[in-house]
């Protein structure tokens, strides 16, 4: 039996945007939804986490951060992009500093739509992520070998903003 199903520990990162989805993720931990019923805990430490919940869009400043967090999570792991911003940049997609959705930097397993995503939808996402974790465990998916520090994916180049010209 895979115990990873029974105890999915979460790390949550909010890549700015309007923070609406961020608040909804935290709402899941509060008394009304209380996802700790399923053993899910918000860890705040990538090395202890299994599920990476990420809200907000990717910009030129947080791309390194998101990549680092992803690399620090031990296998098996699942990435869930929450909200329109995390999926494709949302209302901020045309901003000068926005690179787009989370999948621009790291491989995303699940997308939870909404602006803001509802707590019910987020919980559904986590439940599906748990199923995926078990599957990855069974297939023995390895994203990075121990000690080699090999890259899963190269970071996209930062677009030349040419701000001075304006």
């Amino acid at each position: 039996m895979a115990y990873i199903k029974k105890s999915p520990w979460i790390i949550h990162y909010d890549g700015s945007s309007c923070n609406g989805c961020d608040i909804e993720v935290l709402a899941c931990l509060m008394p009304k939804y209380d996802i700790e019923r399923f053993g899910a805990v918000n860890m705040g430490n990538p090395k202890h986490a299994d599920i990476f919940l990420i809200t907000g869009q990717i910009n030129s400043q947080n791309r390194e951060v998101v990549k680092t967090i992803y690399d620090q999570i031990g296998d098996p792991k699942v990435v869930v992009a929450i909200g329109a911003c995390a999926i494709g940049g949302g209302v901020f997609r045309d901003c000068y500093n926005t690179l787009g959705g989370v999948d621009k930097v790291i491989p995303v397993d699940l997308y939870v739509p909404g602006c803001a995503a509802k707590p019910e939808a987020i919980i559904d996402g986590v439940v599906q992520a748990v199923g995926l974790l078990e599957e990855k465990k069974k297939r023995g998916v390895v994203t990075h070998k121990e000690g080699t520090g090999d890259e899963t994916r190269k970071l996209p180049p930062v677009p030349d903003l040419n701000l001075e010209q304006e």
């Binding site: 895979a2 115990y3 990873i4 029974k6 105890s7 520990w9 509060m30 008394p31 209380d34 700790e36 019923r37 399923f38 053993g39 805990v41 918000n42 860890m43 705040g44 430490n45 090395k47 202890h48 299994d50 620090q72 031990g74 296998d75 098996p76 465990k137 390895v142 121990e146």
Partner: protein, 292 residues
């Protein structure tokens, strides 16, 4: 023969009891916060899960340090439940903690290092009271041996009646040893502290599972020390011990983390006032009865 059974019982059952206690702890904490909380077996699920995860090591020695930590925790428990010297129990317990600190330092991570420094401070704050407890038992029962103390307690010489101050002091220090709020400086069971996870930040998967298992052994050993004060009737002793743990949970949920200076000062003050005065009173009584 009984002590052998007790030792075997401790080694086999302590993780079970410790795990259940930590599961109940999480449920009670959740209820105090108006939540429903995880199932009782959650602590076991967590540890089994951690063994399924990848072991990310940053230093090839940290695994050995953690194994030593676990071994010495179990060793000090064996000394205690085997009825051995109480001072030895305290020293072995300290050595175990030192290994945890070494493991944290070996990772070279800033969070871990600060966590380790704070763990050292926590030991500094708690250790005098643990030693005074051993000394207090010696003054009452004339022996450091847990088996002698236990037999005398069963025979009707209640430790709590002679050592109420020492008991209160020990309860104060227990919060530091359990790393519960307001003394969860080095690491915390709850997310979102300023050091992320402090001492345990760099330990992933099986390494973290070892720490968790050691923590269960630690819990049972410390609660065993509390039980020793009330060892005259087993049922009452167990009920009071569990009640003390409940009080720890209550304190955990109603207090914010404090600075290390306040922790050190208050712990030493408690040691000096509660423990010291108790020992002084014992000494004076002994003098008077000798003189009379």
């Amino acid at each position: 023969m009984t002590s052998l059974w007790l030792i075997i019982g401790y080694v086999v059952l302590a993780p079970l009891i410790g795990g259940i206690i930590s599961g109940l702890d999480r449920i009670i904490t959740a209820r105090m916060q108006g939540r429903y909380g995880p199932p009782v077996r959650q602590a076991f699920f967590d540890v089994f899960k951690l063994f399924e995860k990848q072991n990310l090591t940053v230093n090839r020695f940290h695994g050995y340090y953690l194994v030593c930590f676990l071994i010495f925790i179990i060793f000090s428990g064996i000394l205690f439940f085997g009825g051995s010297d109480l001072l030895m129990v305290v020293f072995a317990f300290t050595v175990a903690d030192i290994f945890l600190v070494l493991a944290a330092y070996s990772t070279n991570s800033p969070y871990c290092s600060i966590g380790a420094e704070r763990e050292l401070l926590q030991m500094l704050a708690a250790e005098p009271m643990l030693l005074l407890t051993a000394v207090g038992f010696y003054m009452v029962f004339g022996s450091f041996h847990v088996s002698v103390i236990y037999r005398a307690a069963l025979g009707g010489k209640l430790p709590i009646l002679y050592l109420p101050g020492v008991f209160l002091g020990l309860t104060y220090v227990l919060t530091i040893k359990f790393r519960k709020s307001p003394f969860d400086l080095s690491t915390s069971h709850h997310a979102h502290q300023e050091l992320i996870k402090g001492l345990t930040t760099e330990f992933a998967g099986p390494s973290l599972a070892l720490i968790e298992i050691a923590h269960w052994y630690e819990t049972v050993l410390l609660l065993g020390m509390v039980y020793l004060f009330f060892a005259f009737v087993p049922i009452i002793g167990v009920i009071i011990t569990l009640f003390i743990y409940f009080v720890e949970i209550l304190i955990d949920n109603t207090n914010a983390r404090i600075k290390w200076q306040l922790m050190l000062e208050s712990a030493w003050l408690a040691t000096l006032v509660l423990g010291g005065l108790n020992l002084l009173a014992l000494y004076l009584f002994a003098m008077i009865s000798k003189g009379g």
